[in-house]
């Protein structure tokens, strides 16, 4: 063990190339690049600005939620409720507007409802010592049911907020880029800075790496863990609201099954289910890969029923490559 410490080549590690090769993101960014180049070649429609912008809008919804999920997973947890919270936030924001609330108060209220569910998850995980799977599985069911209670199975689409800014959020564009994409990028930058540059981020990694050690180092483990579940639920709420704005209507099964896409994107992006590992750059690319793959398969004329097989294979392949990288670059 001590020998491996001595043997590692110290200068090589410092070089830019060495760091690039060692970085977990290099692999998936190259994978994305290969996919994009390949698709542009075999499916010329893929590279059209229209298709690209459409993709950018599509992956932003899942992408925004992945940011929160990544933070939960870095602490060693998982949040299964995001798809349902997405739906609940969507229908509740629409319902508030429908009964005459302004756009901004409606969105704030919908986000508060999301945050409350996140808080509930966090409290169950920390104060009641439940494994994260359990409360988030419960709220996945609860939030979806609440969305059904609100809509009674109908869609909400008659609402007209006082101004059209609300519809602009999901459907509009700024400097030629779709607004959801801009929201995604801005939130990614914030989350990325929080994870890599702040004490808060450092502490999240420490909790995921070794919770007992983090506790004995005086970190407020419970508070930090609750915070990530709240953040995760709020990102799900944001995605739901933006989707309502884009669709101009809300139905109870919005976001249905999205928790799986979100977790898949996080895993493709190199986030470890065991905690302590993962980056925002990684999950950002993970979300993009997932959408490019879906879109590419459609453009290549693949049978839609087969899509799941490809997505599943990519998940396994991504994790397999990550394991190879670890085995290869880390002396044991």
């Amino acid at each position: 063990m001590s020998a491996s410490g001595k043997a590692a080549p110290a200068p090589a590690q410092k070089s830019f190339l060495g760091r690039m090769l060692r970085s977990r993101e290099t692999g998936i960014i190259s994978a994305l690049a290969i996919m994009v180049i390949g698709l542009s070649f075999f499916a010329p429609d893929f590279a059209s600005p229209n298709n690209m912008l459409n993709d950018a809008r599509n992956f932003s919804f899942v992408g925004i939620v992945v940011l929160g999920q990544a933070m939960v997973m870095i602490t060693g947890g998982i949040d299964l409720s995001v798809g349902s919270v997405w739906g609940l936030a969507a229908v509740s924001s629409a319902a508030f507007m429908n009964i005459g609330f302004g756009a901004i108060p409606s969105c704030i209220l919908a986000l508060l409802i999301s945050a409350a569910i996140g808080l509930f998850n966090g409290l169950c995980v920390t104060k009641l010592r439940m494994p994260p799977f359990v409360p988030t599985l419960a709220t996945m069911s609860i939030a979806r049911a609440l969305a059904l209670v609100i809509t009674r199975g109908h869609s909400i689409d008659g609402f007209l907020p006082d101004d059209s800014i609300f519809f602009n959020l999901g459907g509009g564009a700024t400097f030629g880029l779709p607004n959801p994409f801009i929201v995604f990028v801005v939130l990614s930058v914030i989350a990325g800075l929080a994870l890599s540059r702040t004490v808060y981020g450092r502490q999240l990694y420490a909790i995921g790496g070794n919770e007992r050690a983090a506790r004995l180092t005086g970190l407020e483990v419970d508070r930090l863990k609750i915070s990530v579940y709240v953040i995760s639920a709020v990102t799900a709420g944001i995605a739901g609201i933006i989707e309502v704005s884009y669709l101009s209507s809300a139905i109870s099964n919005q976001g249905l099954g999205k928790e799986l896409s979100v977790i898949a994107a996080a895993v493709i992006g190199g986030t470890a289910l065991t905690g302590g590992e993962g980056t925002i750059l990684g999950v950002f690319v993970g979300a993009v890969i997932l959408e490019v793959l879906r879109n590419g398969l459609v453009l290549l004329g693949t049978d839609a029923y087969w899509q799941g097989v490809f997505v599943g294979s990519v998940i396994v392949l991504a994790v397999f490559i990550d394991q190879l990288r670890k085995g290869f670059w880390r002396t044991r």
């Binding site: 001590s2 491996s4 007992r212 180092t217 005086g218």
Partner: protein, 517 residues
Amino acid sequence: MSVLLAVEDISKGFPGVQALRDVTFQVEVGTIHAIMGENGAGKSTLMQVIAGALRPDTGRLIFDGNQLQLSGTRDAASKGISIVFQELMLAPNMTVSENIFLGAEPRIAGVMVDRTAQRARAQAALARMGIDIDPDIRLGELTIAQQQLIEICKSLVHEPRLLILDEPTSSLSEADSLVLFRVVHDLKASGVTILYISHRMREVFDNCDYVTVLRDGRHVKTTRLSETDPEEVVRLMVGRDLAGVQRIRPSHDGKPVMLSVRGLSDGKRYNDISFDLRAGEIVGVAGLIGAGRSEMALGIFGAPAAPRGEIVLEGKPVRIRKPGDAMRLGIGLVPEDRKQQGLVLGMSVGSNLSLAAMGLGRLSNANFVKPIAEGRMIDGYVDRFRIKTPSVDQLVGLLSGGNQQKVVLAKWLAAKPRVLIVDEPTRGVDVTTKAEIYALMRELARDGLAILVISSDLPEVLTISDRILVMRSGRLAGEIAFDDASEERIMALAALEHADGPPHPAPATYGEAEARS
């Protein structure tokens, strides 16, 4: 005496490191043969080669006159070589008898476990070792020492002729080790040859017949222990004379009391603990494993807080509800188990080192880490503690045990405590690093830090402490001043009422023998 095992020119390399080079020595039948060397000397690799877990690159093993070709540990076990690894490989949720026969269950019709036979055979095996443990009890309910004995019992299922014990006492106190040695001597008497890895010099000299010393993957010497002495063995291990760490008479009269603990109790594992700790003083806490020492330390630190009792820091009563409170008051705790409690193994050396200081709001501005200040702080400690790491970005899990321990110590010192509690400062650490850690602790005390050292290693407690507190069954059994300190005094206090304590495998005679000597 005839030779049971001949190791001839064994070499084994891993990518980037040659672990063993042309190791040659012989083990005689019916002896206890110690293998010593610093961490990284190749002891464990050699044992894994002998036990069939690793295949040597070159060289041969001659066992009982025949050349061995081992395909794995199972194969080795069937040929009469068993190994007990340092880390326990038992399932705490299963019963004692299930653990003993794990993978070798007596069967009915080849599919069903014959529970009756399993239980009877487990009982017989335990009785043969002279251990009084119910085979139906869940393993997790036993003490670590008892679990260690079960591990040995499990390895005896295959009736080995050569038993390899890899640091079995590293997590046992002296008294618990005595029980283990009684079993080892019984095995020897019944004809089993034992290869014994240990860092504890005295243990080896008290119990073994031969010693083989390895250094940097090479065989240095094999000799009868009666023909050598500890100084020579250390010299062979280190390759030079080690400046012995001397006891230093304390001179802290008039130094202020830094920490006072009054009547600290959790009602279960520690009761009514009261003591004072002065600035610049190193106080040792000795006692058997399970005496409540670590729990008491965690109680002071708020993890979890003691329900009863008072903690006074520099004359002011303080209330500590959680580790964060203790840290803000300037109390640090280097926990017992560096891998489970001390370090985030998947994080870099640097991030581990700054974690405690950062939690106190240092090295950051409005929650944003100040990378330059952090880097300077980390480099400072890596230099001062001579932490051997290729870079501060190296994952801490890849460092050697001694260097990991230095990182944990550095992490706590970076938080600038006034009181530092250190639980088992040198467990599993080689002699060179041990000496470095002792010197560091002395230096820190000289600068005014109040240090409480919990240790199960008696020579360590004696060497490092200005005075010694002894705990027994959750209570302070007594205090020993610098001039009165001896291993006998400590053991007398630690083990006197041993037989009255909670169920424990140590027969009363050992406690009494220690007390009388």
